[in-house]
Symmetry: C2
Subunit: 136 residues, 2 copies
DNA sequence: CTAAACTGTAACAAATTTTATTACAATAAA
DNA sequence: TTTATTGTAATAAAATTTGTTACAGTTTAG
């Protein structure tokens, strides 16, 4: 669940990267992403918690990158927004009386972890700076 | 969106693998997964469309694997249930007047494709038979 | 030193998506 | 020819995500 958060975070981070030495307001970010400023602020709280951005309150407040874009790996962004295993998970508990039902969650979790490792390895090869460079 | 389908499909396929030379009803599958039989049937329709299972209608009907478990790659299962890019996607159109907003969807899509390739490569190394062997 | 422009946060509402339920025609075996 | 089962549609309920409103707290600019 909760898809779309990676996109939103990447959008925020890219905009911040494009505004060095500036403090960007949630309103401005929301205008580019086209979502509600409150959602932006919530997402920023999360990014801050993971050490990717910093914010300043009060008038002419806003956010900025907590470290150089070259040092922000996209795998860090993924990990910051990650909530569930990539391969999903059962919401209902499978039947424990069934030999398959009894164990499937564990095996699917293991599989998900392996797949996630492969993803993170791939994402870890790109930095925010690399990503940002793609924009003309 | 729609997570949980990979788990459900894997559960179905594992149960079918564990019942060779048998035809398994949606009711029985639903009982192990602990979801509604109609959902199982819908998921089976999808798996059938992708050539992974076959079904028989009428009394003592049900489903069975369309080919040996050794020939079913978990990447095929993923592709069968795949609906959206792994990294998610924006629901709102970003602001086209913003240089970042204008291009971000394209760049995120490209990134998602690369990441998905890494995932599929990993998943392609395991067959349904391998997965099923993990169950005692 | 006060008004203005922000962030942080909570509470709630709306929209969307997922999951469940009910119902029944069609099919095929017993 | 009755019974168990799939296929499928329609609808309802539940869960999740997204949006909105409101406002206290903070900081800076004038």
């Amino acid at each position: 669940m909760n898809n779309g958060r990676f996109s939103i975070s990447m959008h925020i981070l890219t905009l911040l990267e494009k505004s060095p030495n500036e403090v960007v307001s949630s309103e401005l970010l929301a205008g580019s992403i086209n979502i509600n400023p409150v959602l932006v602020r919530k997402e920023i709280i999360n990014l801050r918690k993971h050490g990717l951005v910093e914010s300043r309150e009060g008038k002419s407040g806003g956010s900025y990158l907590a470290k150089p874009a070259k040092e922000i790996l996209l795998s860090e962004v993924y990990e910051a927004v990650r909530q569930n295993p990539v391969l999903g998970q059962n919401k209902n508990k499978p039947n424990p009386k069934c030999p398959v039902g009894k164990q499937i969650d564990k095996h699917l979790d293991n599989l998900s972890i392996e797949v996630e490792e492969a993803m993170l390895k791939k994402l870890g090869k790109t930095t925010l700076a690399d990503f940002s460079k793609k924009f003309n």
